[in-house]
Structures are given as structure tokens and as C-alpha cells.
């Protein structure tokens, strides 16, 4: 609290300071503001092709590229939010779950290029609307994703256009989806027996059961015969063909298919087409019934005349190859937005994001392939595609100069933007930090240019990406990086002054866990959790137990009281609610975990008076109460199911045995060496726990996290 009071006047002075020279520049700012109010470049299905073409060049020339994503949600269930009791592998599992379940609806890409002549950056903010349709022909798979109600509300509040997204959003395929689709096509077209797919063989003996079918077949036979005869009798062909082609309903049309004469069929029902096919097959050995992709999306049916059997086989092969090529082209075109990601990857540019671990996980799962099951595999894999990633949040927190300037609690993107780049955000000139001048950023959208652009639409991916890039440019400037030097060498990512920050991402901003993408190691950024430090104590995971399915409305304090009665006054260090149905209990010693589990098992087995009167029966007597070690928590988190209540989740995952004690030994062995994490000190916790079971500090921490994640978007 004290700290907050301290920082407030500080920030006001800062703002005053930055406002001081405003008077001088007011006129200039006004003059500029009229020219700087053009829209950001929005890209949808209709202008994607051209935008991609332009972006190709822009990305190639860029010194770094800022990205930002808007998603349909962050956590699929309340207990999937980030907790202090989460080990780093759990944190990864939670991020993985989020990236797998939610859809990305907007993708901001903003290439920045240093112009040595002007001594300023030129930014090209792009705002892509994307929508997963999985547009592969023949695949009836539908793309499914989750929406978090609050997130949709949040997006709506910032004027996100859902209609545009659904109607005009650019679709995409991930690399693995594309491979799968191509493989599928391959398997169909290689398989001789599946000729039926192209209507080549089957249905030869289509039974003519209905009277209408029989009559229709007869008429078709005659028509086709006439046509064929007219083809063969070269003399009078023209008139005959004319007669058919002037058929009133235009159902037959004389065409040439790969230099062979043919009849294009149109306006028939699928049943009639089957009859025609059967007739052709049965009565005309030299005619082939084929289906090819038409000009429009609908396939085109043809009857083609062939000279010989060889010619016929050749024709069939040609048709098949044509269809295959067609299908492959369709898959290629379904790749859609992934072309942008491929460009980013192939150019090996420095990618800049703000609190971007979740963003990168989304990029991986949407455009590369399924996320690996462990954080180690994931980081090594993503480095192959994006070797240089920088998180401005790390940069801001790690550098003393910025920490001074940016209030600790306001490293959310828009606030950081205002305090780091006031000349862009507010349109004012400042002397910048220390003795360095601010970096100029000129924005270019299509033909329009402005050195003072500010669309102000925060939480729009394109603008957020732009803000992120500006912060990064400013930060580099403060670090004393000479852009002109790097432009010539094109190696901003290799700059030594950035090496301490590059490829380091916040696994969870709340806990300050930082993961190093190049090594896969996870460390705790002490500066991030500095404020909370005095409230934390070291915890070890082997001494944590998970209880769920508790009698409803059992308060944390009551649970603690019960356990203390059995295991002694200092046995429990803290009790922490995951949600209303489950708690973590941290014991003071790991041995107590197995003791507790054993006791639970005996209690649940016996129903004699002693166990009924046992102090623990208060919390364990519920039919559905289960207890398990921390390892089971991991197992539950790794499941793809997401029930709203943790107890339901645990049941759905299939941990039905009342006590999962068989894992105790293994758990101890495995987690003895696990790194330790801080947790709320019991004293603080108890003081703050509200009367009805929820622990208020926990909730506030969660909502803080959520706000942070949302705000950083």
C-alpha cells in the first residue's frame, strides 16, 4: 500500500514533466493530428492476396517484426487459471490447454524498418482478421473452438467486429494439417480400388427399379447413341450435333475434353446422372463417363468418346491426375494465413511480442502443429521456427531505467506505451530518458504516411503490435543500440546488448517464472515478484496434497483446523482453494503426505465409530472426497477435458479411486529434486481468508492475472 502511494506522485510528476513542453509543440501536434488519423491496414479474405504480396517485401526489409494476437479466451475453466502452487510444468500445461482450445480471431503483424536517412523507424501495422474454417474439400471435419464469455465481452467492448471475422476472416491450415490433407489425397489417388471416388467404376449395374428410371434410361440411351453415331458418321455430323446442342433445356452440350469429343451434362438430378452413367457403361464401350472439376465449385459430368481401350485408360489417368492436382491446389489455397507465419519463419526475423508466451503457443498450435506435451520439447521445437523472440515485458522489467519509468503494476501494453513512448502515444515531444532522444517512428499504411500516427484502438491486434514495436525500438535506443550500424549488417538480433533478454519469455507473469527458449531452463524473475516477496515462502511440491469433492462450503480455516488436530499444530503450512470444489494443502514435511493418504484410505474403508468420530472425517466423510499427490494434479491438468469444477474434471479424467496413494512413492522420488516455488505465507493467508471459503487473496491474484493477460493483449 505504501509503495502504491509512493509511486503515484512519482508518475504524476513524470506526466507533468512530459507535459511541460507541450505548449511549445501544440500547434505542430494539431497540424499533424489531422493528417495522422488514417485507418490501420485491415486484412480480410478479400484483400489478403494483395496484402500478402506487399507484406512479403516489407517483411524481407524489416529489422524486426512485432506481433500480437486476439483470442476468443484465455482459460477454459476457472481452475485452469494460473495459481501460485503451479509448478512450471503445470504452467506450460495450462498455456497449452489455452492455445489448443481457443481460437485466434485477430493477428497483428507490424514490420519495422530503420531508415538511416531519416533516422527513424518505418512501421507498417497490419491487422489480419482470421477465422478457422478448415477449408479442405471433401473433409467434413469441422473446426471447433471454445469462447470464453468474458473474453467475447471484452473484445466487444473494444469494438471488435465479430461479423467481419466470421464472414471475411482469413482461414488457415497448420503445417501438419496441410501434410495430413496432402497425404489423404495421395492415399485416395494411389489406391486403385478407390476409383469409385471419381465415379469411374461403381454403379455399373444401377438397378432400374422405378418406371421413371426405365423410361429415362431408354431415352438417354437413344440420345447418347444418336450423338455417338453422328460423331462416327462424319458426313452429316454438323446438323446432328446441332440438334443435340439446341436441346431446349441445354442439358447436353457438345464439348471437347482433352482433344476428345464429349458431351457435358447439366441440369440432371443425381439419380438421373447415375442412370446415365449406368447406361453409358452398359451400352457404349467406347464412351466413358467421367467427372471433372468444373469452372465453378460444382463438379462437371461428361461423356467422352475414346478411340480405343488404351485411349480410354489414358483418359482415365488424365482425369485422375487432373482431379488430384485440383485437390492439391485447393489444399494449397487453404493454407491461407499461414503464409504470413511461413514468411516470418523463413525470414528468421526478430519477433517482438509483449508477454508473448501464450501468443507463441497459439502460433505454434495453429500454424505449425500440435503442441508437444512438455515445455522442454516445445521450446526446442519453436526455436527451430523462430530463433529470435523477444518479450518487451522482460525488457521493461529487467532494465532499471524502465523500471523507474514504468510503474511496476502497469507493464500492461497500453500503459507502458504511454510512459515509454509519450511522443507517439500522446503526440508530445520529450527529451526522452537520460540524454538520448526518442526514436522517431513513422507509420505507413498503403500510400499514407505519418510520423505521428495514433489510431488509438487499443486491444486491436494490429495497433497492439505497433505499440509493442514502438516500445521495443525505444528500449533499444535506451540500451544504446545504434540502429544504423545494424541495418547494414542486418543483425539486430545478434546485438550483444540484447543477448540478456532475447528468447526469454514469462511463463507466467504472476509468478515471474521465466523460461529460456534456447536452453529450456526455467528461472524465477525475482524482480517481477518483488512486491510479493515478503508474503512468500519457499514450498516444495512433494509435501503438497490435493483434496477435491469436499463437502460444500468448507472453509480453508476449518480444513486446516481438522488436519492440525491430527498431525500437530505445525503440520500444515497453508491451505489454498483451487475453486469451490478443491484445495491444495501444503504440509510442513513430505512424509505427512503419505501419512495423510494412508489415513484417508483406512478411514474410507472402515465405518466403525472410531473412524466416524475421527477429526478428519469432517473433511473426508463426503462420498466424493478424494485425495491425491501433486503428480495427479499434473495428470488432471494435462487432460484435454475441461469441466468447470475441478472435482468434475478429476472425475472426468478418470481418477475415480478415492485415494490415489499408489503414486506416493513415485511422486516423492520424482519431485525431490524439483525446483521450489514460493507460496503465500500462512499468516497472511489466514488473515485475509474471507468467511465463506474462498480465499480472497487468491482470487485477487487470479483476477489480476486475467486482467493482466487481457490487458496485455
Amino acid at each position: 500500500m505504501k509503495k502504491l502511494c509512493m509511486s503515484k506522485p512519482l508518475s504524476t510528476t513524470l506526466i507533468q514533466f512530459s507535459h511541460a513542453p507541450t505548449t511549445v509543440f501544440t500547434t505542430r501536434r494539431r497540424a499533424l493530428s489531422s493528417s495522422s488519423s488514417f485507418d490501420i491496414k485491415n486484412v480480410t479474405k478479400s484483400n489478403f492476396e494483395s496484402a500478402l504480396k506487399d507484406l512479403r517485401g516489407l517483411l524481407r526489409d524489416a529489422d524486426f517484426v512485432a506481433v500480437d494476437l486476439e483470442m476468443t479466451g484465455v482459460t477454459s475453466a476457472p481452475w485452469r487459471e494460473s495459481f501460485d502452487f503451479d509448478r512450471y510444468d503445470i504452467r506450460y500445461l495450462k498455456v497449452k490447454d489455452s492455445a489448443e482450445k481457443f481460437a485466434v480471431v485477430q493477428f497483428g503483424v507490424c514490420p519495422f524498418r530503420w531508415d538511416s536517412d531519416k533516422q527513424s523507424f518505418i512501421a507498417h501495422p497490419h491487422n489480419f482478421y482470421i477465422f478457422p474454417r478448415y477449408e479442405i474439400p471433401g473433409s467434413n471435419q469441422s473446426c471447433e473452438f471454445i469462447c470464453q464469455t468474458t473474453s467475447l465481452d471484452f473484445l466487444a467492448k473494444y469494438q471488435f467486429d465479430f461479423n467481419l471475422c466470421v464472414r471475411e476472416g482469413i482461414s488457415y491450415l497448420s503445417r501438419s494439417q496441410e501434410e495430413e490433407a496432402l497425404e489423404h489425397i495421395n492415399s485416395i489417388y494411389m489406391d486403385e480400388s478407390s476409383d469409385s471416388v471419381f465415379c469411374l467404376r461403381e454403379d455399373a449395374d444401377f438397378p432400374l427399379v422405378r418406371m421413371a428410371d426405365v423410361l429415362f434410361a431408354e431415352r438417354m440411351k437413344n440420345t447418347i447413341r444418336e450423338w455417338r453415331d453422328s460423331l462416327l458418321s462424319k458426313g452429316s455430323s454438323s446438323s446432328e450435333i446441332k440438334q443435340i446442342s439446341t436441346d431446349p433445356s441445354q442439358r447436353f452440350q457438345m464439348v471437347f475434353f482433352k482433344t476428345r469429343p464429349g458431351l457435358a451434362l447439366s441440369g440432371f438430378t443425381s439419380r438421373q446422372l447415375r442412370v446415365i452413367k449406368a447406361v453409358t457403361k452398359k451400352h457404349f464401350k467406347d464412351l466413358a463417363y467421367i467427372r471433372v472439376a468444373g469452372e465453378a465449385t460444382s463438379p462437371q459430368q461428361l461423356i467422352v468418346y475414346t478411340d480405343s481401350d488404351d485411349d480410354r485408360d489414358l483418359l482415365m489417368k488424365e482425369v485422375k491426375d487432373g482431379l488430384r492436382k485440383e485437390a492439391e491446389i485447393k489444399v494449397k489455397s487453404a493454407v491461407g494465413f499461414r503464409h504470413v507465419i511461413d514468411l516470418l519463419s523463413s525470414e528468421q526475423k526478430l519477433i517482438v511480442g509483449h508477454n508473448c508466451f501464450l501468443d507463441m503457443a497459439h502460433i505454434y498450435s495453429k500454424f505449425i502443429g500440435p503442441l508437444p506435451s512438455t515445455a522442454e520439447d516445445y521450446v526446442s521445437s519453436i526455436q527451430k521456427f523462430f530463433p529470435f523472440i523477444i518479450d518487451t515485458k522482460i525488457l521493461l522489467n529487467a532494465n532499471g531505467v524502465f523500471r523507474q519509468r514504468v510503474d511496476k503494476s502497469s507493464t500492461s501494453l497500453s500503459r507502458a506505451f504511454v510512459s515509454i513512448c509519450p511522443q507517439i502515444a500522446l503526440g508530445v515531444k520529450t527529451s526522452g530518458l537520460a540524454d538520448r532522444p526518442c526514436v522517431e517512428v513513422e507509420v505507413q499504411v498503403d500510400e499514407k504516411r505519418s510520423s505521428n500516427w495514433n489510431s488509438g484502438a487499443k486491444h486491436e491486434a494490429g495497433y497492439d503490435a505497433f505499440m509493442t514495436g514502438c516500445i521495443f525500438a525505444q528500449a533499444c535506443n535506451h540500451l544504446g543500440i545504434d540502429f544504423t550500424l545494424h541495418v547494414l549488417a542486418r543483425d539486430l538480433a545478434k546485438e550483444t546488448k540484447l543477448q540478456n533478454y532475447i528468447n526469454r519469455l514469462y511463463l507466467s507473469w504472476v509468478s515471474g517464472d521465466v523460461i529460456d527458449l534456447s536452453t529450456g531452463k526455467c528461472t524465477t524473475d525475482s524482480s517481477a515478484s518483488r512486491k510479493l516477496k515478503n508474503r512468500y515462502q519457499e514450498i516444495s511440491f512433494p509435501s503438497i496434497i490435493l483434496l477435491w469433492g469436499l463437502p460444500s462450503k468448507l472453509k480453508a480455516r476449518e480444513i486446516r483446523a481438522c488436519i492440525v488436530q491430527v498431525f500437530g499444530p505445525n503440520s500444515v503450512s497453508s491451505v489454498y482453494h483451487l475453486d469451490e470444489s478443491a484445495v491444495f494443502i501444503q504440509f510442513s514435511k513430505p512424509e505427512l503426505v503419505s501419512k495423510f493418504l494412508e489415513m484417508k484410505e483406512t478411514l474410507s474403508r472402515n465405518s466403525d465409530p472410531i473412524s466416524v468420530l475421527h477429526p478428519l472425517s469432517n473433511i473426508l466423510n463426503g462420498e466424493h472426497t478424494h485425495a491425491a499427490t501433486y503428480d495427479v494434479y499434473r495428470q488432471i491438468c494435462s487432460s484435454s477435458i475441461s469441466k468447470k469444477l475441478f472435482a468434475d474434471q478429476a472425475e472426468a479424467v478418470g481418477i475415480k479411486r478415492k485415494t490415489v496413494s499408489s503414486r506416493v512413492k513415485k511422486g516423492n522420488q520424482v519431485f525431490d529434486q524439483e525446483n521450489e516455488v514460493r507460496v503465500f505465507d500462512e499468516k497472511v493467508y489466514d488473515q485475509m481468508s474471507p468467511p465463506y471459503g474462498y480465499s480472497e487473496p487468491d482470487r485477487s491474484a487470479e483476477s489480476f492475472y486475467l486482467d493482466e493477460v487481457l490487458a496485455s493483449k
Binding site: 474454417r133 465481452d153 471475422c165 464472414r167 492415399s187 465463506y692
Partner: protein, 619 residues
Amino acid sequence: MLQKRLICSRISNTVLQSKPGHSQSKWRVKQVTKSNFSVALEEISTCISNSDFIAVSLKNTGAYSAPWQRILPIDTAQTAYDKAKYAAERFQVLQFAVCPFSIKGSKLIVHPYNFHLFPRDELKIGMPSYSFSCQSSYLTSMAQEGFDFNACIHDGISYLSKSQESAAIDRTGNAPITCTVQTPSGYTVADSVFAERIKSRVKLWITACKDTSKKPEDALISSLRKIVSGDEVYGSRPCLSIDVCSECQVQLVLETLKDFVDVIPLLNPAKGGTIRPVRVVLTSSEEDMILLQKELQNEEKEHNRRLRGFREVIDLISASQKPVVAHNSLNDFTFIHSKFLAPLPSTLDEFRSSLCLVFPNVLDVNHLMKEISPLTKVNNLPASNSYLKQRFFAPIDIEIPNQAEVNEVKTLGHDVVKISQLFAKLCSILKIAPRTPEDVEGHLPDAIECYTNSFNPCFTSSHGPADEDVSVWTDNTGKISIKNLVFLWGFRGVTSAGKLKSLLYGSHEVFDNEFDVRMVDKSCAVVSLRNPGFSKVLLQLLDSGGICTNTLKEMLADGLTAAGYETYQKVCELGVWEADLASSMEKALEETESFSEAQSKGLSGIRRNNDEMINLDDL
């Protein structure tokens, strides 16, 4: 001017009536969002009470995640329910069309409304829905119909289910309500002292308030007095706030206040465990008291409306006890139950009885269609309508009264009118008198009664292009027992039922002339055998080996696995909803094995259904 407009609207009304059926795009369905909800609620309330039937139709954000998860002909009523339940729990209703209608001869009078819903967390308590699934194809098709997602999210009507409402009241407390007094069991001395003190305090306060001879006071003094005495004002009436420190004291205060005729106690329910003071409002006369009570009731109503949102409409329909007509009633009513009533129970029977309390008569036009054409598979609305048009003469004039002010030309919510129309046609063809007899309120004519509340699945056509092989199946005698069915998976490289069948044919005695194969999805096939004994033989064979041909041996070595229908039931019961049926079956098998190991009872947990017969022709 006004007259002119009246004439215009009358003309447009007659135009509407003169071209029934053809003017589908002119059906004017009233679109309802948060902004016009209150008005529409009043309107629809009268429409519901004046109509004989209510048609409903829902537009959801998705239906099934994998091909095998939709309701298939091989499903029994229970497994179909399991599947519908799974969908209802995950997906969201974005449009809910309600259409009260009456049939008068060949005239159909409809009042269609289309409500736009969004599960917004109005009370910030994580309800009604933390998150929901969407399928992009469903969203895309909704967009094509002209659905406005922005309007839906900004201005959609929220709701709480009945069970959520009680949970919400628990958590947040509700509006001030007058409360019935329960006599406390016994007084302690402290209690009676407290009661006496309250009594004298209230008495004093009342006399002070009624003392009209009082001289006008200085503003400062009066405000000081207010602070000292706890005087407040409730609306225009004087109000006294009495501090209490326990639930018991609240009861005591209420008990004491009974002695005063002209006061009304207001309870501020406990919020987050703290007990808030009881307020006492003084009324000037009996009329005033009635007025205040009415005010309070209105306030409560308003609060409830905010809380329940769209569920008010559901409550109205339910309260009317009128028959509800739907298309695909299993899908729609699992959604209705899970979103507006309570979480879905695990069995169909429980669901049926739970739903019956709220909607006693549910009619499914699909079931009526089956009556007319038991063999043909017409199960979407346009197909049913055109089927009837081709074969029967049943002209229905649609009249949409009181809707002239709606000038939107969107087609949203038209399905509900189509359902009404189809129902009217079916009634006229089946010669059912579609009027609820006035004298036997709540009872349907017997002719319709027999169609109500059957939530058996209405099959969607399962004719994929890959496995269309009708001739074989029409040879069979129709229904076969699920005991004759065996699920097969783990056949690598086999993509069609025909190929699998030719591989299996003759490889063992069970695969004789009368077996058949269907693909459930690309990973799993279902085999129907001549008799239940054969399926046992087959399962045993695949389990423990036996005499079989080399082809079958090859396939077994390649990973061919089989399981009986009970494993499939287990999959649906446990909710093992993997993308491939094969992996779901594998998991269910593992589950069964570990279960039987632990319990050494085998498959005792598997529910047996009465309706184990399924219609083979539908396959």
C-alpha cells in the same frame, strides 16, 4: 397520415395472407434483443395464453465434434441421449425462436419471435456460462443467414437456469423482500430484552414520525437526529434501520414488528456472510401499505427479470402448460434443459421425467412425419415440407397478425414458422383435431397424446458417399438386436465398408451370407451378424484366438480389435468423446478391464435398455 399508414399495414397484411407459403421471405419474425425484451415479453405472454400450441426452434453454435458423435441409426435411445447431452453441455444457443400458434381449420395463426441470446455474465459470478464451444461451420452458416454476431454479443439477452438462479441468490443476495416470519423455538432472557428494546424503539420512532405538531426544525438538528436515531427514508416514506448481529435476532425483530400494523420490514439478505440491518418502513395508511407492497413486488419482479433474463420466456411457456412443438425434440430439449432448467441427468428416463414436470406435452414433428412415411427418411424441414406438398393436399394459410411494425427482411427464426406450418399440415393429413379442448384443460386429444414426449432419436441420414450400399440392407428384415452387433476397428488401410466386407467374407463361419458391415466413422465399423450367438463367437475368437483363415489372422496381427455393443454404450455413458470412435472404444475397454479387475464383477455396470432394438433400415 396515420390513417394512411393503417391502410398500408392492412394491405400488407392481406398480401401476406394471400400468398401463403410462397412468401417465406415475407414472414415477419420479430427479432428480440435486450433493448426490446421487456416489450416483447409482455406481448408474447398474451400470445402464449391465446394460442393452442407453441413451436420452438433453436440455433446453436455447433452440434457434434466428430462424425460418430452425431446421433446415428445404431444408437439406442440412451446412447442418443448421451450424445445429445454432450452437445447440449458444450455448445451455446444463440437464437431461440418461439412461436405461439393456433390452428383454425386451414388457417394457421402464428406469432413468431426470435430471441437473440448471449450468456453474458451480468452478475459477475461466472454464470450462466464460463465458456462455450463453437464450430466454425455453424457460425459461418449463421452469418450467411444474416445473423449479426456483434449485436448478439452486445445486445443478446442473458439468462440463468433455475438451478443457477438459486445458486446466484445464495451468492449475491437478492432484492429486498418481505419475508414470512417463522416463530422462533424459544426465547432466552437476552432475546426478550432485545425484543423489548426494539419494540420501544420502534414505538418511539412511529410516534415521532406521526407527530405532526412538530415545529419545523433546523436542518442541522434534523440531520443530527437522523444520525442518532437511525432514521432513513425509503422512497418517500420514513424508514428505520435496526442493527442486528445474528439470524436469530432478525427473526426476533420480525416477530416484534408483527405487533405494529402500519410497518413493513425489509430484509437485506446476508451477503458474503455478513448480516445487514433490518429496515422498517412506516406507511401512512392501509392503502399506502398496499401500494408499498405492490412496489416491493414490482421491484422483486424487475430484479428477477434481470436475473432470469430469457428464462422468463421459458417459464411463461412452462406455466401455460400448452403443448410444445419441436423438430428434433431430443436435441432442442436437451439444450433447453441444460441451459434453462438444470444440469442434465445421466439417464434418459430421469431426463424425461425431469422435463415432464416443466413441459408436460412435447410434440416432435419428426415423429408425426414417421407416421406418414415410416420408410422414407425425410428429416429436415424443407424436405418434409416438399414431401408433403408432393403427396398430399393440405393447404394451410399462414396469418401473422400484429407484426406489421417489423420491417426486417432477414430470414432469422423462420424455422419456427415452418415447424408450425408442418405441424398444421400433418394434423390435417393425419386427421387430428389440433385444438386443445377448452373443457379438459391441459389434456390433449388422445390422437395427439400418443405422439408426445417421445425423445427417441430422429435419425439423420447416414448415407455418406463412401458407404452407400442400400440394396444389401433392404434385404434385411428391419430391426436387429444390438446383441447382434459387433464393433470392429484396427483395420489398417481399409477405407470402405465394401472392402472390409469382402475381406471378412468367408474368413470365418460367422461371416456367412447374412452378415453386413457399415462404417461408423473412418476408424471403426459395425458388423451385424445373423444371431447374438455369432457375436459372442466372434468376440471370443478375437479375444483368445481360434480356428480362422489366414486373412483374418493377418488382420488380427495387424491390430484388428472387436467389442460388443456394451462397450459402445460404455463409451457414451462415460463420455469418452475422442475424435475417432476407435480410440474411444479402446479407452472404454481399458476402463472396463481395470474396473473388472478391481471389482471382479465384469460388466455389471452396464445399463440394459428396454429399447435394444434398433432399426436396421435406417442404417
